[in-house]
Subunit: 398 residues, 2 copies
């Protein structure tokens, strides 16, 4: 799995994404272990395959009856959309790989994409802006304004294409033609959902990207929205909630961002507004409070933490270790590639304070340059930055 | 100084409060050391007195020329106001004593008070609500509503008697007749400042208290507002800022609350409102962020942290150790009265976790039951709670 995907592998992943609901830990682990072709051949016949449950196998076999992935491949070509696999150059490996673990759905098997941008470049500097469907004029204004300014500063705005805050975020980003915006859907990328956003989604695809792990033509379900939310969180450097009622669905995106150790931000609002209560709860969260953001500069303080990312626009592909400050380099150079190292030991090795280490590691984690182990922290292959190092998309770093 | 003040001492303190600006560290230390009579006799003649600077002595002597404290005492009786000294029963010793140190003005020499309530009882359960003079309709509404609900729950609302948020807070508290409200002024308690609040201040004095450390008839100055702010912070269990522009004067009250280790709270608002920007800055403060509060329950979570204070109304005088939870008692019992003890040692002695100790100590500090020393923490005489223990108002605990 550490070379370009063969046509057969691509066909198998397309098939799997058609017959299996996204987010399954067992399926992703089986694909990492046996390769997509073997897993596809097993599941389409409902045969045993690693830890995949009998129920999931039976469901896959039922859906696979009379189905041929080639139909999808032809249909995709006709509709001008593509299927990006973890072996493709444009796959944002550092963002879209994590250890499948309870509480967080597994990473995607692949992504259907509409739009001309390379996926990895589009998400290199990106922020998710999410919130309530039933947004107020205040929330819509703030989401739009913030997204225009983020786009002006060269940041891709990622959202879910829904009514309310999502739409305001996409429209705000479109108003600045500086950076693409990405709609990550809970249905096929060719499905107009909500129906009223047919035109908006078309505009997004023209200048940005519409992405989904669901096969073309698939309708959204409640479960798919929740599983989709982890993708919005994972693709972004950080997630902002602009307006959300208590127990709003958009808060699920924040909890997934937390599980992925990505920064979580909330925009405050009037305490008299029920649609800001969810944001205020996030700011008051006893364990891991959201960062209060009120202006684009404050967002850049959070997501532009690596080097001078926030100041300089991205021109063409940038290496993962480019643009880092000296302090960040010191910490990176002190990190091992195999066994994890504790923060105090990293600080000693780097010759910086523990506080600096604690401040530097989370953004490095968000950028996929370091990862947590049982013993502490270590470099990912991306973080090691050795030219020619093969990135293994479906397994942990060596 | 550990018995009731004599008539001569009271007269000396009235004289000192007339000729010396409040907040002087040197004067308060001199009074603690030599007693008020000696300091008054020295300063009224401009003579050397402890660490009091020649400039301050000269100013005091100039003001004392032809002045007789008896004039003030007679005037006070006529106007229905009283001078409360640290030796009086109603002095809230735990709140109004702290080590005079750079960065925070010294505690008051005494307080002029209009109103029937005992000062110590009125501040026993109290919250300061402060904010911008040029408040918006939103801020005025929130300050009023919060103050009514605090008063309904038996909490005294303390503010500064100014236009805007202060007035809304007082009026909100007056709307609930449940608890008194206290206006702490930067001028004499008989001065109608601002002029438009003549009637409001009269209403506050009728059902609550108007208090100031400035001699009757004294006009406000910029410096007196700043020095007054520490009194608002010191008299309250915690301070809330409802609306404040960046660099607003009301934020000075919060910085004084922080210096006094009292909890600091901020009410969020629209990010589009310049009058909420100061509140949001407080929530984002890197060192010691304000707690985000949006409803009265969230305020009670902060200031009602000691025992079941928040649930049960105060009926008559309550001992300082009444109503504490078992955990708080364990921590208190583990604290020494002489040498300070570190948090880890306290945790060991109390048989609770360090986290519990860290959570319990700040409210105990705010209630005046414990204090910080160079080595750690120890009980105050109030915290030791020994019946008949003399409280030394003008010196640290034994």
């Amino acid at each position: 799995m550490s070379r370009a995907a063969t046509a057969e592998e691509r066909r198998a992943l397309v098939g799997l994404s058609r017959v299996v609901e996204p987010g399954s830990r067992a399926v992703v682990l089986a694909v990492a272990d046996r390769g997509p072709v073997a897993v596809w051949e097993a599941l389409r016949h409902g045969r045993p395959c690693g830890g995949v449950s009998p129920g999931l196998r039976a469901g896959a076999a039922l859906r696979a009856e009379g189905y041929d992935p080639d139909h999808d491949l032809v249909r995709m070509t006709r509709s001008g959309l593509r299927f990006v696999t973890p072996q493709d150059d444009e796959w944002p490996t550092a963002r879209l790989w994590w250890t499948p673990e309870p509480g967080l759905e597994a990473p995607p098997l692949g992504l259907y994409v509409r739009g001309a941008h390379r996926l990895d470049e589009a998400v290199a500097r990106s922020v998710a802006v999410v919130g309530a469907r039933a947004a107020t004029a205040y929330g819509t204004y703030v989401a739009g304004q913030l997204s225009t300014e983020l786009s002006d500063r060269g940041f891709t705005v990622i959202s879910g294409g829904a009514y309310g805050i999502d739409a305001a975020a996409h429209r705000g980003a479109l108003a600045s033609s500086r950076s693409p915006t990405i709609a990550v859907l809970a249905c096929g990328v060719d499905v107009a959902y909500p129906r009223g956003h047919d035109r908006l989604l078309g505009q997004i695809a023209q200048t940005g990207l519409v992405a989904s792990e669901l096969a073309p033509g698939t309708s959204p379900t409640r479960g798919r929205f929740l599983v989709r939310n982890r993708l919005i969180a994972a693709l972004s450097l950080g997630t902002i909630v602009v307006e959300a009622a208590r127990r709003s669905g958009s808060l699920a995106t924040l909890s997934r961002a937390r599980l992925l150790h990505r920064p979580v931000m909330a925009v405050p609002g009037p305490v008299t507004s029920a649609l800001s209560a969810g944001c205020h709860d996030q700011l008051r969260s006893p364990d891991d409070p959201a960062i209060c953001v009120t202006r684009v500069e404050e967002v850049l303080d959070v997501v532009g933490a690596l080097g001078d990312d926030a100041a300089a626009p991205l021109r063409g592909p940038v290496g993962p270790r480019d643009g880092l400050t000296d302090t960040v380099r010191l910490v990176l150079d002190a990190l091992p590639v195999r066994t994890g190292l504790g923060e105090a030991s990293i600080a000693r090795a780097a010759g910086v304070s523990s506080l600096v280490v604690q401040q530097v590691l989370p953004p490095l984690l968000a950028h996929g340059l370091v990862e947590r182990t049982q013993d502490g922290w270590r470099l990912t292959t991306l973080g090691a930055g050795r030219p020619g190092t093969e990135l293994r998309a479906h397994g942990p770093s060596p």
